[in-house]
């Protein structure tokens, strides 16, 4: 939370803006809500990989490794850093394949529509 945002909270009679002005900006590091907000609901019978730094539960080890790398990058141990890099590498490959398919789909959509417009 920046100082500016913190100041918004202290202004009396401005509570209508609080919702937009006073909340901390998103960090986009994939942390989501804190564990204390009760934002998580892991199923009882599934594997849970819990973050040792903040307690957030994850469904897969790779996701936990990615989370640690993004959210706790300054605290990582060496094996954790290695796990993060490996997971990131794997994910980059998967992402590439996905994007290739996405690009193909966009082109397909475009030509399908083009043909439909030509026929109608």
């Amino acid at each position: 939370m920046s100082e500016r945002d913190a100041a918004a909270e202290d202004v009396p009679g401005r509570s209508e803006q609080e919702a937009t002005a006073a909340t901390a900006g998103p960090t986009h590091v994939g942390t989501g809500p804190g564990p204390l907000e009760g934002g998580f609901d892991p199923p009882a019978s599934a594997d849970v990989f819990e973050c040792g730094y903040c307690g957030r539960p994850f469904a897969e080890e790779d996701l936990l490794a990615l989370h640690r790398g993004h959210a706790h990058s300054d605290q990582l141990s060496e094996p954790e850093q290695a796990a993060f890099e490996a997971a990131y590498e794997t994910e980059t490959g998967e992402m590439r394949r996905f994007q290739l398919k996405a690009a193909g789909l966009v082109v397909l959509l475009y030509f399908l529509l083009l043909m439909v417009y030509a026929l109608v």
């Binding site: 942390t31 809500p33 990615l66 475009y110």
Partner: protein, 452 residues
């Protein structure tokens, strides 16, 4: 509020017929209605193209996987000094005087072409609302009820937390229902009654629970404008105004609990409902129902409540599916809360599509009627809009959805550590958005009819 549009435009155009101003075609079926139905592409193709455009926007958004870039786009801002004491005082004065003037004109003005009716529905509900999402939310400064509540003593009872924001949800739906079944969109006297009732309820609530609490939690209008305002580029902060990219502030809007999610969905449903009840499909249904001897007011209520339940249930369901496709242990409620702000961009785009032609065609009428509020003027001008104007509405719907896709994308990258995970978590929401784009384009393409 197509229904409203038909009535108002019909009334004004009826007057026009006597005066034979402008295009004679205007006099038939209402000024707004006549400028529509000019799309030469078949409707199904328009719907398909719209759906494809939204789907393609999602696919293109998946190429933005750099978290720093998402953060940079969303976090961009420029600061400007806020309004001074004089401007704030002027805004308050305008608000209170406006309320008094509307009440007075609605109470004693002419019953035909009343300036207060036109001002409330065209000037305020259509025009002013547009400024809250296109420019910035000025309602906390203008809100006359807030100013009046500030003059009253307060009991400062603690607001019952278990009520959440449900009173605001119910009040919003109730206002929409009253708007559709009562004559307040063309008869000034009942409008005055509704405004007085709203004033009394609001001031009573603000006195009991304190103005800040009341307008933050229970008042529907303050929340409508606050939520729409989160889409806008100009945001108010503690020490001035900040300029953001449109929708940039949405990712910071805190939708706190289930009742606030319900309010966002209600806002989206309210405009959709207004569109639906002015279609030929609904006119047929309503005609059949009335022929069977069933009173229409409860039927409208049932459709309003049922459709709201359907929308809310659909959104909850997509949040549950997103939890699975996104492979996350975030609770369904958390996913629903975090993705809710993206719906506001859609609601804003749809509002603009519905009301822009209505506002522009009746804007000259507001000016003329405001000049002589207590007598029916000899001539009420209506701005004829060209046929291509339909495209503006469709563009607004598409832009709203594209903005929503970006907001959902940024939200997913805030929530999930995996890039592919973030993309997958959006699947159900994108499916719903594609479906909703097509629904709203269909509603927009329907010829407007006067329904029972």
């Amino acid at each position: 509020m197509f229904r409203l549009r038909t009535r108002l435009a019909g009334g004004v155009a009826g007057l026009l017929a006597l005066l034979a101003v402008a295009d004679p075609a205007l006099a038939h079926g209402g000024a707004v209605a006549s400028s529509r139905r000019t799309v030469t592409v078949p409707t199904w193709l328009v719907l398909m193209t719209g759906g494809a455009a939204v789907g393609a926007s999602f696919l293109l958004a998946t190429f933005v996987t750099d978290r720093a870039m998402v953060r940079a786009v969303d976090g961009w801002r420029r600061l400007a000094p806020g309004p001074g004491r004089l401007a704030r005082g002027a805004a308050k004065a305008v608000g209170v005087l406006g309320l008094v003037a509307i009440l007075a004109v609605a109470a004693v003005g002419p019953t035909e072409n009343n300036a207060a009716v036109l001002f409330v529905w065209v000037g305020w509900w259509a025009g002013y609302t547009m400024t809250t999402y296109l420019v910035g939310n000025s309602w906390p400064g203008v809100n006359p009820w807030r100013t009046l509540a500030g003059l009253l003593p307060t009991l400062d009872e603690s607001y019952p937390d278990r009520l959440g924001s449900w009173p605001a949800v119910l009040a919003l739906l109730a206002l929409i229902w009253v708007e559709t079944v009562s004559p307040i969109t063309d008869d000034p006297r009942p409008l005055a009654v509704v405004v007085v009732a709203y004033t009394l309820a609001t001031l009573a609530g603000a006195t009991v629970y304190g103005a800040d609490t009341w307008f933050r939690r229970a008042d529907p209008m303050a929340r409508v404008f606050r939520y729409y305002g989160a889409v806008a580029p100009v945001q108010r902060t503690g020490d001035g105004l900040s300029l953001r990219p449109p929708g940039g502030a949405l990712s910071e809007l805190r939708v706190g609990d289930d009742s606030e999610v319900a309010f966002v969905v209600a806002l989206l449903w309210a405009t959709t409902f207004d569109g639906f009840v002015s279609t030929g499909v609904w006119a047929d249904i309503a005609g059949t129902v009335r022929a069977a001897g069933v009173p229409l007011a409860p039927v409208y209520l049932a459709v309003l409540a049922g459709g709201f339940g359907l929308f809310l249930g659909g959104y909850r369901l997509s949040s549950r599916v997103a939890r699975r496709t996104g492979d996350t242990y975030l609770s369904t409620a958390t996913v629903a809360r975090r993705f809710a702000p993206s719906l506001l961009a859609i609601a804003a785009g749809y509002h603009l599509a519905h009301y822009l032609s209505f506002l522009l065609s009746l804007a000259p009428a507001i000016v003329v009627l405001a000049a002589t509020p207590l007598s029916t003027p000899p001539q009420v001008p209506v701005l004829p809009l060209p046929g291509w104007f339909d495209l503006v509405g469709m563009t607004a719907i598409l832009l709203g959805h594209v903005l929503a896709i970006w907001v959902a994308h940024a939200t997913a990258y805030d929530l999930f550590p995996g890039r592919l995970q973030a993309v997958r978590s959006q699947y159900p929401f994108i499916a719903v958005m594609v479906f909703y784009t097509m629904t709203s384009l269909w509603l927009l393409a329907q010829p407007e009819v006067t329904t029972p």
